[in-house]
């Protein structure tokens, strides 16, 4: 694949290096002269100097034949517009944008820039994963497909411990897909009996979280455990 990476900071540089190692053709674009000269010593002709916000810089890098554009500069506006132009003007198949300030994510969505990746959000997700008190953890959101996969830890006061999976009234639009018990995952059958400490994985339509929390969460408690 031919991949254009914009922004030769730590993220962009390492990304370009990895992609080159995997055998892809890569052009890394950097607008800071000094940074460009540093990176160029290692990546040589795979680095191009210029402001990728400007169309001619993208064209010089061969955006017309690029299969993918990845914008990972430290500036959210730049990342948004580079991807917008790549997608809408040059019809690049695949774009990936970095979100620096997670509060800007809605702007990326508004302009149709997907997927967008935010390190801050990822760390927050990990934090949720590590701290079970958070209850329901989003593992994967497929926005376009309108599906999400969540994980939930069954605490000792859970409604469903000791009950058969076949007896659960799963909300419409949700499906129990896996149980993690003592470090091993398995696909439950109707006869599987849930235990305290189990982690369940479910796929569901967006907006079903609260119903699921009510089913699997603490007894006599609906959505939030305040």
């Amino acid at each position: 694949m031919y991949i254009i990476v914009v922004g030769a900071g730590k993220v962009g540089w390492n990304l370009a290096r990895e992609l080159l190692d995997k055998g892809h053709e890569v052009t890394l674009i950097e607008s800071d002269r000094r940074r460009y000269l540093t990176v160029e010593q290692e990546l040589e002709h795979n680095v191009s100097y210029g402001d990728a916000s400007e169309l001619w810089v993208l064209e010089r890098a061969g955006i017309q034949r690029a299969d993918m554009v990845i914008a990972v500069t430290g500036d959210d506006e730049d990342n948004m517009l580079i991807c917008q132009v790549a997608k809408e003007k040059y019809l690049v198949d695949q774009i990936i944008a970095r979100v620096n300030n997670p509060r800007n994510r809605r702007h990326f969505d508004l302009l149709g820039i997907r997927p967008s990746v935010s390190a801050t959000d990822l760390i927050l997700r990990l934090l949720e994963h590590e701290v079970p008190e958070y209850g329901l953890v989003h593992l994967l959101d497929l926005q376009e497909e309108q599906l999400e996969i969540i994980e939930m830890l069954l605490g000792k006061d859970s409604n469903v411990t000791g009950r058969r999976v076949g007896d659960l009234k799963m909300p419409d639009g949700s499906l129990l897909i896996s149980v993690l018990r003592a470090g091993k995952g398995f696909v439950p059958s109707a006869d599987t009996v849930l235990e305290e400490g189990d982690e369940i994985l479910a796929v569901l339509d967006p907006g079903k979280e609260d119903e699921l929390k009510a089913l699997f969460g603490p007894q006599g408690n609906g959505s939030n455990g305040a």
Partner: protein
């Protein structure tokens, strides 16, 4: 009309004053509190006394845009010193808040032209300068420089 101007530098502040003088309601949003002083250059009273609004905040912050009144703006002008900021916030005004008239200042002529074709109203000062300078050269060539330029041109 309610006019919201984001970016209150030389361009934004001049447009703000002129618009206010014509009797419209004007709200300005700028990151720099100091730009309030630029608004009041040449005014006999304070900006607020004349009915103007001024909000400190970044154009990309939804809260700041809403505090400045984007929800009921008839006209939205993006005139910060950054092309990318202007293009992004103008699209937010268009798509999210459905402001009827949105104008973005874009210095880069190539992108100003492309976004214009995508339905975003752009104003390109660089394009204006290029056209005027080209016209100036052409005019000079038509006068005194005619003899020197003549062999090639025709």
């Amino acid at each position: 009309m309610f006019v919201l101007i984001v970016g209150c530098g030389r361009v934004g502040s001049s447009v703000a004053r002129a618009t206010l003088r014509e009797g419209h309601t004007v709200s300005c949003l700028d990151e720099d509190p100091e730009s309030h002083a630029r608004l009041e250059v040449g005014l006999e009273k304070s900006w607020e006394d004349l009915g103007g609004q001024f909000t400190v905040g970044a154009g990309l912050e939804t809260e700041a845009l809403e505090a400045a009144g984007i929800g009921h703006a008839d006209v939205f002008i993006a005139s910060t010193d950054g092309d990318n900021t202007n293009i992004v916030i103008a699209q937010i005004a268009q798509r999210q808040y459905e402001v009827p008239c949105v104008i973005a200042r874009v210095l880069d002529p190539l992108r100003a032209e492309w976004y214009q074709r995508q339905g975003l109203n752009t104003v390109c000062p660089t394009r204006v300068a290029i056209d005027m300078l080209e016209a100036g050269v052409r005019e000079a060539a038509g006068r005194g420089g005619a003899a020197a330029a003549a062999p090639e041109t025709r």
